[in-house]
Subunit: 349 residues, 2 copies
């Protein structure tokens, strides 16, 4: 399933008009965790600035204004680092992709539009002998989930969330780093495009046909456990998000976790578009545990808060509040490291 | 979304080796509800028998042994009326499909394998000027769900289940007939292949990419409400089925129902493959209502039992038991008609 993956060494990341921690999630995560792979960021509205100034990390990675300018930094690949809602190729990006291909760059894209299949872009890439990694191209297995998780070897941890973009990928990634630091053979299981670009494997489960989602997650988790003792699976969406809840539950049941980490951004109170208020953390903990209960026993053992938009004092207050509300280990793993969460996992690993 | 649909008038239904109420679900449902469209059934192991003998309904619709024999009944289309697990085209059926096309039949297929895209079958069909309706071909909308359900006009009823193949399609179809009989403008919303073949429209939600499932259900439900006052949506799978629960929840949140009907086969106690015991009915009622609660208020108002494998006395005992356990209206809508369920819906419609 990783045949198409491109292990790019020097990436130019498109974040046009939207470079920011939440507005260009993929771009920001690659800059945060693998800055050595990033040649430059492309955002004409922030041209001439540095990643460190705009994102708060990424140091002196330059922000350039166009693909033409980016080529001067000698990248080997263009990563589309922003995701339009719905995930189709916006018309104005077509020109950018074409220019990158003409400039000899491979393309890494997490769009729902499969660029390889595009009648202009696919043939152009072949003509220029560059590769396209459509990260979201779905794998369709030959069967549905097989019930292999119950008797697997190894332990599984899953990050779950109050909403989408609440830090599930980041928490999973940080926890793997934390566990490895403690000498645990842990492996990150990517289920979305950002995690896939970071790890160089995985499947975009939100693109997999409904019937096969749980199977794909089962396969990914077992693959991780074939080379590690603990698989830390990146969750998606939320059980209370009307558009994505199906993907969330498929990952929950497909990965069959021993323990869960609940991810939440304290300043987020509501899913506006659907007029849905986010339940309190304790209710979310209960909801995720109950969703597993008829199948297997799993506990939420820690809470990962995403406090990037709070100052230190307020962030600490939110951690304290979440700790009181849930009685669990709580931290912001990006701000203070994953140690508290790794401690919380101690009982189940 | 209904462009590809074939409104076949005389269908030969393939049920090779598996003609039966549960083993050939699609075949059995078309025979039950639209026998006038069925030219014959194909099952070489039951050749020479009649539908009425094998299924208990369908009267003197003949069972023939091959496509060649079926052609003598002058069908216009071949419907693949059985679904292999995983849904791919079994090698031995390829010859059957080819023979049907060579005999001038359109093909209606609910397989995950898209026959139109098959390098042998697609071109052959074009050469013979017959049409292929790949019922499960997924629609990929241009965006995810939009939160249009909360303020829709009209009422929505959804059938949910303890397991897959527990009678959700049938209950929804029966309830629409029952409501119409009472003068209610009700419309059946097909979300799976059997319902689609019966109704001539719909989407196989289990084949839609995860992110778009809820949106597709939103679209289907709104389409039904554009021509009716009550949409009765066919649910899929079960919240406790590890392989399919994601599809189940996407349909639950995508259709945003005012009321639910819980479907269950009393003799089914367990999902063997996953070693999952089915929860008691009262726990299932609670689970479905809780899965809606953070988003919208919805109640299970009736239970539809599938008692086809019980005698009349035991069936009545199961109805009585379910009534006591849940305090709800309970019946087997196939055995005794949907009236009790329609009564149960009275409070919300």
């Amino acid at each position: 399933m990783t045949d198409a993956a491109i292990k790019a060494e020097r990436i130019a990341i498109l974040a046009e008009g939207r470079l920011g921690v939440l507005t260009s999630k993929t771009a920001a995560c690659v800059v945060r965790y693998q800055p050595e792979r990033v040649a430059c960021l492309i955002d004409s509205t922030r041209r001439g600035r540095l990643a460190g100034e705009v994102l708060g990390f990424g140091g002196d990675i330059p922000v350039v204004g166009s693909v033409g300018e980016a080529l001067g930094r000698f990248p080997d690949s263009l990563l589309i680092g922003i995701a339009p809602k719905g995930g189709l190729l916006p018309p104005e990006w077509r020109r950018v992709v074409v220019e990158a291909i003409q400039g000899g760059l491979n393309i890494i894209s997490g769009l729902h539009t499969m660029l390889e299949d595009d009648p202009e872009i696919g043939p152009l890439a072949r003509r220029h002998k560059v590769r396209i990694w459509d990260v979201r191209r779905p794998l369709v297995p030959d069967d549905v989930a097989r019930g292999l998780m119950k008797h697997r070897r190894g332990r599984v941890v899953l990050t779950v969330g109050s909403d989408c973009s609440s830090g599930k990928m980041t928490a999973a990634y940080e926890v793997v780093r934390g566990l490895r630091h403690r000498g645990v053979r842990a492996e990150f299981v990517p289920t979305g495009q950002t995690g896939m670009v970071l790890a160089g494997w995985g499947q975009a489960v939100d693109r997999v046909p409904g019937d096969f989602m749980a199977r794909v997650v089962e396969d990914l988790t077992l693959e991780a456990l074939s080379r590690a003792d603990v698989a830390v699976v990146e969750g998606q969406g939320s059980l209370v998000h009307p558009a994505y809840s199906g993907v969330t539950l498929a990952i929950l049941h497909g990965s069959w976790p021993d323990a869960m980490i609940l991810c939440h951004q304290p300043t987020r109170k509501r899913i506006e578009e659907f007029e849905v208020d986010l339940p309190p953390l304790a209710a979310l903990v209960d909801m995720y545990e109950r969703a597993c209960a008829p199948l297997f026993r799993s506990k939420v053992v820690a809470v990962a808060l995403n406090t990037y938009d709070l100052d230190e004092t307020r962030a600490k207050a939110e951690v304290e509040r979440a700790r009181r509300e849930t009685g669990l280990a709580v931290t912001d793993p990006v701000r203070w490291g994953p140690e508290a969460i790794c401690d919380g996992l101690g009982g189940v690993l």
